[in-house]
């Protein structure tokens, strides 16, 4: 019986893995891109709660973006540190009036500021209410039709908004996720800013996971119209859809929550619309550098996931499209959580039925080979999006892969299992990754030079 269950799970696992390998491989290609001549208005929302360490990086990152028609709204969510003071100092804030376009419930906004030197940068100072609450406030004050949500520790690539603008030319697209790269997986030297695999194993592990997660998993889900989460670090939405969805909900995983709520809308009143994934729209984010903060981050993600599954359990297959429900239920829940990874089952078989040693070895070799092949496919696909490593680094990556598959996958199982259990004990306690606040020098000419107003466009 146990063996049969394992085999059923295993087959499911293989089916999804094969999809994740071949869908991106055969569908990603450099398309003939036509960029619209008109820049649509984009509002970038950056919720900040005690982000004093990274806020400066964040601002300097925004100057890299070559896009004119945008406004940036920092939402200071009742920070208890010097975040507001730092913003004040860097941006020379003046109190201003800004029109609220619509209403969503959120904590009181104390004051609205506008930068004296960069007139397209605003700061909302509000009472603390959490990230979802801060985003809701930001949406209300945003004046443009396309909303970008960005984490304070993330930095946009210069072309990212141009790509968003191009994607939203398509009327059927109501929301889109961008591609997130691990910042520590890059090396900057002078003017060059290139992918580098020269990092600690913990970072390498995350670099590989991010590459596979975005280039393969997200591409597959978007191709099959089954996006289950737009990463909170970098997402793009049509403002009216956010209002239709009722704004963000206060929860650990507000990013997955809003995605699923939009999927509900697509399944009901917005039939024919879709959520896209834009591999060309890139942002760089700092990922946890210590095992402890990685553990915290992953526990938080898992709690967020379980919370969403419980919240949306009744919408599956009813309000939500079949494919979204299928991916959520089978890939994310059953394979991702219930069995975490067949690795967890394999020792069990061995324990209960020692005469199935050969079966164990077979299942193991299959999952191992397929995992390695998935990563190799990832390298092929990411190259097509100009994510190149040097030849020697490819060798390093390939020799690192077995370690990743064998060792770090197991830690993943631990994260998922603990996260699920912990969710039922304390739902609300959540911590965020420790900010490192390492200066980000995407381009030497564009480093923090706040006196140089050349970059400001309005």
């Amino acid at each position: 019986m146990l063996v049969t269950i394992t085999l059923v799970f295993f087959c499911l696992f293989i089916v999804f893995q094969v999809l994740y390998i071949f869908v991106p491989l055969y569908s990603s290609r450099k398309k003939e891109k036509t960029y619209p001549s008109v820049e649509k208005g984009i509002s970038v929302l950056i919720p900040a709660y005690n982000e004093n360490l990274v806020i400066e990086n964040c601002i300097s990152g925004l100057f890299q973006v070559s896009y004119g028609h945008m406004e940036i709204i920092f939402i200071n969510d009742g920070s208890t540190d010097l975040t507001l003071k730092t913003l004040q100092k860097l941006l020379l804030l003046n109190i201003t009036e800004k029109v609220k376009t619509d209403t969503l419930s959120h904590e009181k906004v104390r004051k609205v500021y506008r930068s004296a030197i960069y007139p397209n940068i605003y700061v909302l100072d509000k009472a603390n209410g959490g990230k979802a609450d801060a985003l809701n406030a930001g949406i209300c004050y945003a004046s443009h039709d396309i909303i970008i949500t960005l984490d304070a520790d993330s930095v946009l690539d210069s072309q990212s908004l141009t790509e968003i603008n191009r994607t939203f030319e398509d009327d059927t697209i109501v929301a889109a996720g961008g591609l997130v790269h691990v910042l520590q997986g890059y090396h900057h030297n002078g003017n060059s800013f290139n992918p580098s695999f020269h990092a600690s194993n913990l970072i390498r592990f995350q670099v590989v996971r991010y590459l596979t997660g975005f280039y393969m998993n997200k591409t597959t889900q978007s191709t099959l119209n089954a996006m289950t989460v737009i990463a909170g670090a970098f997402g793009a939405f049509r403002k009216d859809v956010l209002f239709q969805a009722g704004g963000y909900r206060k929860t650990v995983g507000e990013d997955m929550d809003i995605t699923l709520r939009i999927q509900e809308l697509i399944g009901t009143i917005l039939k024919g619309k879709r959520i896209a994934f834009i591999p060309e729209a890139i942002c760089y984010t700092e990922c946890p550098a210590s095992l402890k903060s990685l553990y915290n981050q992953r526990i938080r993600w898992q709690k967020a996931f379980i919370d969403c599954i419980i919240t949306f359990r009744k919408s599956l297959f009813r309000k939500m499209n079949f494919r979204v429900s299928l991916f959520l239920l089978f890939d994310s829940l059953i394979l991702g959580t219930l069995s975490a990874y067949p690795v967890l089952f394999i020792p069990l078989i061995l324990l209960f039925t020692p005469n199935h040693l050969k079966l164990f070895l077979l299942l193991f070799s299959i999952s191992f080979s397929i995992a390695i092949l998935l990563h190799i496919a990832t390298l092929l696909v990411s190259r097509r999006f100009a994510h190149h490593y040097r030849f020697r680094e490819y060798l390093t990556i390939i020799s690192f892969l077995p370690l990743e598959v064998l060792l770090y996958r197991l830690t993943e199982v631990v994260f998922v299992t603990f996260g699920t259990i912990l969710y039922f004990f304390n739902k609300d306690e959540w911590s965020r990754s420790d900010r490192i606040g390492k200066p980000i020098l995407l381009n030497r000419h564009m480093t923090i030079d706040l006196n140089d107003k050349r970059e400001v466009k309005s």
Binding site: L7, L25, L359, L363, I366, R384
Partner: protein
């Protein structure tokens, strides 16, 4: 797209190169070790019919040194024969003898004063120097098909003949259904019980009347302990271990050892020849009776003297 096509195809090729053997082994493993083990659990109520106790005294007249053991599989009336009974070359399947032929052959035995032995008598002949008439035969059927009960049983009963059926317990059904020539039907438990005045039942394995994808019989491909377990379960189900016949006639040394360990009385092969007490008790030859055999051929086959004289 063209730029990536060759890379994609190369990758796909490597993927298949690596994954195909792995999946094939997994498939093989599952079909060998997991799937086939299942039917044994769902076998119907055990049979446990006593053996036919007929043990006649043949001490008068000429004695036989050897006996022809006849092997049949299916007996079907000519009128019901249809596509499934023919092979691709439109020849009647070798496992089928028509009712018409079978009746003629049985009548021949009757007219020519052949003695049709019971399994017990044959066993005595083979092991205990029992004297049997010079013109003796043992009739056997393999596989326990429903049509044998339907068409051979009345003929045998009419002549007062006995026969042995090598049955596969896992195929025996709990329910008796109407005869349908267009499908493969095995006998039901009830049919076995009702026909027990003519038939003794022998062991044709519990569920190993199967071959692997590459055409190896299960008795050869399965692990020794699985084979033993299967044969033993069939013995238990039938209620004795007097007679065994290997599916497809495929067996090896290890099968013979297992039979000895399970105190099997006799085992039959599909090799042509006459049975005599000097044979190995676990490799008793049998004469296959096939659809192409005319009555002349049949009479030659069972004529032990004829062969002796050649």
């Amino acid at each position: 797209m063209k730029r990536y096509l060759s890379v994609n195809l190369l990758f796909t090729f490597c993927f298949l190169l690596i994954m195909t053997p792995l999946f094939y082994s997994l498939f093989n493993y599952i079909s060998h070790n997991l799937v086939s083990a299942m039917p044994s659990k769902s076998v119907v109520t055990p049979l446990h019919m006593p053996l036919i106790s007929v043990d006649r005294d043949f001490s008068e007249g000429e004695y036989a040194g050897q006996v022809a053991v006849l092997m049949y599989h299916q007996i079907l009336p000519e009128e019901v024969l249809q596509d499934i009974h023919y092979n691709k070359l439109h020849e009647l399947s070798r496992t089928i003898v028509t009712v018409e032929q079978f009746t003629e052959q049985m009548t021949y035995l009757k007219i020519n004063d052949y003695t049709v032995l019971s399994l017990t008598e044959f066993h005595q002949f083979m092991t205990k120097n029992k004297k049997v008439p010079a013109k003796s035969v043992l009739i056997t059927f393999d596989d326990g098909m429903k049509n044998v009960f339907e068409f051979a049983y009345p003929v045998l009963k009419k002549h007062g003949f006995y026969a042995v059926q090598f049955i596969i317990p896992s195929t025996i059904t709990e329910k008796t259904v109407p005869f349908d020539a267009s499908i493969v039907q095995h006998a039901s438990l009830d049919e076995l019980v009702r026909a027990a005045d003519v038939f003794d039942y022998g062991n044709h394995t519990l569920s190993f009347h199967e071959m692997t994808a590459d055409g190896t019989a299960y008795l050869l491909s399965k692990k020794r302990e699985n084979v033993k377990e299967d044969i033993e379960s069939a013995n238990k189900w039938i209620g004795h271990s007097l007679a065994f016949a290997a599916p497809f006639g495929e067996y090896d040394e290890s099968t013979l050892e297992i039979l000895a360990e399970l105190n099997t009385g006799m085992a039959f092969t599909i090799e042509a020849g006459f049975a005599s007490p000097s044979n190995s008790i676990y490799e008793i030859p049998r004469m296959g009776i096939y659809p192409e055999h005319t009555l002349d051929t049949f009479s030659n086959i069972i004529d032990t003297h004829g062969v002796m004289n050649k």
